[in-house]
Amino acid sequence: MALIEISNLNKSYGSKLVLNDLSLNLEAGRIVGLLGPNGCGKSTLLKILAGLISAYDGAVLLDGHKPDIHTRAIVSYLPERTYLSGWMRPVDAFDYFGDFYGDFDRVKAEDMLRFFNLDQKQQIKTMSKGMKEKLQLILVMARRARVYLLDEPMGGVDPAARSAILDAVLKNYQDDALMVLATHLIYDVEKIFDEAVLLGFGQLVMQGETDQLRQQYGKSIDEIFREVFRCSVSW
């Protein structure tokens, strides 16, 4: 049984269909790139898996359970937008996460804070975008979860910070976990994926092992992505 099993998933906002009869299985022990143009349903899918959206049609199973308050214990989710309050400092955020999640590893979080050269007493509202993204990543990766869902973890940061974030993901990834990383910045990130899932119009366009796709097409995942979605500039 796959760690995540999705079958015939449909989700619409009003009359707009965001996920259209999506079926997808994801196995443990993998870093999966969830790739698709803006508005293709990546964030909605991650929110459903994180148990934040419960109104949908179809079947979604995480380790055999419907996503709800209980599966949140095994899922560590990094949302696209921050939910941390501006007054908080990293040390407060660590307290908060430590209270909330039994699997939060404070020592690991403090290690990562040093790795990123962040100050544990600096208030979030005075942090740059890159610093905030690093802090969010720390909070998510410092949990010993079975599923990590990262929604654009390096959306607004410079290439140096992007490399540091990638290093941190690799360094803190546990072999038996499943990591799903949604992004549209493919080129810089694709070497850490072992599997790519291309999503378009809420449907599965392509799923495969990255090295196998490279061999088959003689192209990078980034180029395959551009080719698949070339005719859809209006998205």
């Binding site: 022990g29 993998r30 870093i31 490399s163 990638l166 290093d167 690799l170 360094k171 990834y173 072999d175 080129y187 694709e190 070497k191 850490i192 994926f193 072992d194 990255t210 090295d211 196998q212 490279r214 061999q215 003689g218 192209k219 990078s220 995942i221 980034d222 180029e223």
Partner: protein, 128 residues
């Protein structure tokens, strides 16, 4: 991360070539223990499963071997190492000759050019 991979080709194949290079040029010593999958994944900034695949393939080819209790080691078969070195060199030279022929260079012209450049790029070999 100091190594740049070409995203257009399978990364496990690039890892195999890189690791083989390290073995044939001696920066990885015959008989030594190979770093863990996790360490290598971090060092080269790639997926751990991709590293695992490259190492498994190298084991099949005999360039590494696993001892059940103590981990993975680099082969001590000097013949295999020197064959691999020869094979890597021939592949590179084939590519190089193709490129030079593409520029319209003949064999003698190319040999002269190599002799002239060799000393400049590699001081230690200047008088050889």
């Amino acid at each position: 991360m100091s190594y740049e991979f070409d995203n257009h080709a399978p990364i496990y194949l690039q890892l195999i070539e890189l690791f083989n290079q390290k073995i044939v040029n001696g920066s990885w010593t015959a008989g030594d223990r190979v770093a863990s999958v996790r360490e290598l994944a971090l060092e080269f900034g790639v997926n751990p499963n991709t590293v695992q695949r490259a190492l498994a393939e190298m084991e099949r080819e005999g360039m590494m071997y696993t001892e059940r209790t103590s981990g993975r080691f680099i082969t001590q078969d000097q013949q295999l190492i020197s064959d691999t070195r020869q094979q890597l060199a021939e592949e590179k030279i084939d590519q190089f000759i193709n490129q030079m022929q593409g520029l319209g260079l003949g064999r003698d012209e190319l040999k002269q050019l190599i002799d002239r450049k060799w000393g400049k790029n590699n001081g230690a070999d200047r008088n050889q």
